[in-house]
Amino acid sequence: MSDGYQIVVCGGIVPDPLQTLEPVHGPAGWGLKNELMLPAILDPWSGHALYEAANLAKAAAGSKVWLVSMGPKAKLQQVMMTVAQKAAFELIALDAPAGGFTEAGDVAAALAEAIEAIPGLDKSRLLLFGGWQSASRGAGATMQIVGEKLGVVDQFQGVDKLTIEDGGVLRVLERVEGGSYQESTVSGPPALFGWATGELPEPPNNPQVGMANMRLVMPALQKAKPVQLAQPAFGSVQLPCQKRETRIVKDTPVEAIAREIVDWINA
């Protein structure tokens, strides 16, 4: 790619995973108890996508990364204080509820519209990144619909690795059943990648990157477009039926942990 890629990462925000999440029905429909007041983080799956995007952009000269994020504006701003220090990107913010009570199709339509509106967008250089799941609801459908709406039909989900080969061919490792990978190649952009965890650690905060990003992040937040999302009717809402028992143990050898898991499965 002589001119580099245009990498657009779609990433929402979710409540910090340590918080107590309790669905409640309010005047505006379903939401989480005190959701606005709980600290939020960048959806971890999109986080992986963002770090992979930044890494890829560094490897392909001339590339640029955008982060398209939809969520309550004030919450997005808080999350940016961390995220903007981790990778260089330009933010496109959409002001809308974040929670898991929206339709993937509606969210995808708003994201696709925002991406179409990026000045100078060149689809022949476009790589669409996002999470293959979301920590808020995990419909697993949003990115696929965004891709379809933008006419990006080469799609890969559960991606853990993306390498550029000679001639700009992209080699992709996708997670499939049973802990295996499916390896594919695609001749080049446009293509969509729904990331699993990828291979990169979370970059440390870098204030220089942060200060540079903020020059664009703050205006982007100020002009964030409000998006109305109709909430579908829910028959009922409940947390996934799992019992969360937090136990804190110290100095436990790996074998003992494995043993305990096996015993638990067998029980």
Partner: protein, 686 residues
């Protein structure tokens, strides 16, 4: 009635501590926090605090600080930093975030800054740029190691401690060739010197030992200088073990250009531009503020683990049914548990408000002070003594300004006010007189009283509190607080400082304005405790004025520097009052600005109600404490004149009366703590 729904988040704190419009600071907070709750917490959990020695394990902290930008936080952009302008609030926020987990890590992050502080405050521009730009991580493509520093004032017994004049560190002229720069010999032994394991340079306080050097000074010593650079024995300290402390022995040959702030030669004598005392005063004035906030952070950090422990105390096993109140609320069913935690939280809020207000004040003071120095230099006003007398002459105008400020806007002489506002020297006198109170007050009260309250948090965790398994490392935090109350000037030093500065007339004029302002606030917002705050300020000021004129039966003056039994308790009383004043101001700021932020607006009524109640609790506590102290001084050296006692009693009664409803406020806080939503688990490991 609306009350606290969740623990206050960043949006709330940014408003209260006034950095909602500073994204640079908000980013720094996130950086320090993530480092604290990952690497720092892991080191503590892995037992890194169990050694006195500096280890490879602990040294990971330094590279983590470098990588995350905390090392360069102190510098200006042209020196490799990233924040333009004063950085007192930035440094305070970082110390706060790191100490939330472990204050030793905070001390470690600040050590090089402390070493640089003499250079930063009083160094020559060349010294400043040379050392500041070498203490930041190399830029891409640059090949150099990062310099780290240590600040050496304290000396082995029987020399420098609280008293900084009994100095054994000495400097003399070793060689001085005609027309060349003199070469000095410096001897300095340090005690308890932070960062000494890896310091590449030391800023050392030394006295003159040579008629050819006029006064004491501070000098920069480098590890590569000719002579002895012995790092000495490690301090066997039982707190802050994530920082390095040793007793170095230094005997080195250095060029005279290492004298901090430079020197002139007059009649064949080297005259340092600054004595060690002048430099130290400027340094500690600033660096004490982050220390104050270290203890405060610990108190606030204890709230969540204590609530969790209390709530979950009887869960699991067969102790009770899941639907029962005992299961749901655990120890929170017992009023004392939540009321005591309310006291902890109220103390912490007051400390945070006072500490951050002081940090912000220094951010305003820094540029004003530089401008003042420039004007004085142009006017030829040099040396501490002549500056002091020049400033004293300005006090009248500063008081005039405050008198104008006290008037309703339409009655002020706007022209005169603008004139005084534009006068750098007057503005300096105004800011400095307040800084001279708030800085020692936060260092003294946040750490000293904070350590006492930290013990309460340990007690609230029962036996668990004094084990290594206690979530939030509360035992460590309690003992660490004792160091914060000690280094950079123990409590006695702060009390001594206040004994002098709290008699300043400009401060009194300011205090009178605050009294009027808080009386009005008390009428408009009685729920904040502003009336109690105003009444205690009034009582305190009356007591001070009384003590300044009163005598004991022997005819000796009561208010005297040698009479620490009078001056020191009165200094303590002022600290309580100042902390409460700041706290109420922050609650009002939240109430005013909260609606502008949709996230904060969501639960604002409950937040403001809760924080007002906390402020009321603290205001009543402060008023009570101040009144008790004032009474002990007014009556204790008696008998005194009946009319004085009557005047005092009226003011004291008003103080007590202003606390009306405080216990109800406390009950409401207790109830709030029983229902506030907290996270499922603590975000840093055991």
């Amino acid at each position: 009635m609306e009350t606290l729904r969740t623990l206050p988040g960043d949006d709330v704190r940014q408003i209260m501590w006034r950095f909602a419009d500073r994204y640079d600071l908000q980013m720094v907070v996130q950086t320090a926090r993530s480092l604290a709750r990952s690497l720092v917490a892991r080191l503590v959990a892995e037992g890194a605090r169990k050694t006195h020695e500096w280890t490879e394990h602990k040294a990971q902290l330094l590279s983590a600080f470098d990588d995350a930008g905390l090392t360069s936080l102190f510098m200006d952009p042209h020196q490799g930093g990233f924040i333009e302008g004063p950085k007192n609030l930035a440094l305070a926020l970082v110390a706060f975030e790191l100490s939330w987990v472990d204050a030793g890590a905070a001390t470690g992050s600040l050590a090089t800054n402390l070493a640089l502080a003499p250079i930063h405050e009083k160094g020559t521009p060349e010294q400043r740029d040379y050392y500041m730009s070498r203490c930041v991580p190399p830029a891409p493509g640059e090949d150099r190691a990062i310099l780290r520093g240590a600040f050496a004032l304290t000396e082995p017994l029987p020399y420098i401690g609280v008293d900084t004049n009994t100095m054994t560190g000495k400097v003399r002229v070793l060689e001085w060739e005609e027309g060349k720069e003199p070469v000095l010999h410096v001897d300095k032994r340090g005690r308890f010197i932070t960062g000494m394991d890896f310091a590449n340079f030391v800023t050392a306080a030394v006295d003159t030992n040579d008629p050819r050097i006029k006064s004491s000074c501070m000098v920069i010593l480098e590890e590569t200088d000719e002579g002895l650079f012995d790092r000495g024995a490690p301090t066997l300290k039982m707190v802050h073990q994530l920082s390095s402390t040793r007793d170095p022995v230094l005997s080195l040959k250095v060029p005279a250009s290492r004298i901090i702030g430079g020197y002139t030669v007059k009649d064949g004598v080297i005259v340092p531009n600054y004595t060690h005392s002048e430099i130290i005063a400027a340094v500690f004035h600033r660096t004490r503020v982050p220390v104050a906030l270290m203890t405060t952070a610990k108190l606030l950090s204890a709230v969540e683990p204590v609530i969790r422990y209390h709530r979950q105390r009887f869960r699991g096993g067969t102790a009770c049914e899941p639907e029962s109140a005992k299961f749901q609320l655990g120890l929170q069913q017992k009023p004392d548990a939540v009321l005591r935690l309310t006291d902890v939280w109220a103390t912490a809020e007051a400390g945070a408000s006072l500490g951050f207000e002081t940090a912000r004040l220094f951010d305003r003071l820094d540029p004003t002070e530089k401008a003042k120095d420039k004007i004085f230099a142009e006017q030829g006003v040099v040396g501490a003594k002549s500056q002091m007398s020049a400033l004293r002459k300005l006090e009248k105008q500063a008081i005039e300004y405050l008198a104008l400020e006290a008037l309703p806007p339409d009655q002020r002489d706007a022209g005169r006010m603008a004139e005084l506002e534009a006068d750098t020297l007057v503005q300096y006198a105004l800011l400095e007189s307040t800084a001279n109170i708030l800085c020692p007050a936060c260092k003294l009260w946040n750490t000293g009283y904070g350590a006492t309250v930290m013990r309460e948090t340990v007690a609230l965790m029962g036996g668990y509190g004094i084990t290594e398994d206690c979530p939030g490392f509360l035992f460590n935090k309690w003992t660490d607080a004792q160091l914060e109350a000690t280094y950079e000037g123990p409590e006695a030093v702060q009390r001594r400082h206040l004994s002098v500065t709290m008699t300043n007339e400009v401060f009194h004029a300011r205090l009178r304005n605050w009294i009027a302002q808080y009386e009005a606030l008390g009428a408009a917002h009685p729920e904040t405790g502003a009336s109690a705050s105003a009444a205690s300020m009034k009582l305190w000021l009356w007591t001070l004025e009384f003590l300044l004129r009163a005598k004991d039966p022997e005819g000796a003056r009561l208010y005297h520097s040698r009479r620490q039994g009078v001056t020191f308790p009165l200094a303590d009383a002022l600290c309580w009052i100042m902390a409460t004043r700041s706290q109420i101001a922050d609650v009002l700021e939240l109430a005013a600005k909260g609606p502008e932020n949709p996230v904060v607006a969501e639960g604002l009524d409950g937040l403001v109600a809760f924080f007002s109640d906390l402020a009321m609790v603290q205001a009543a506590r402060s008023a009570g404490e101040a009144a008790r102290i004032c009474a002990s001084l007014v009556y204790g050296f008696g008998p005194q004149a009946a009319e004085d006692l009557a005047a005092f009693e009226t003011l004291r009664a008003a103080c007590d009366r202003a606390s009306s409803g405080a216990a109800l406020a406390k009950d409401r806080c207790g109830a709030a703590l029983c229902q506030v939503m907290i996270p499922e688990a603590l975000d840093y490991p055991l």
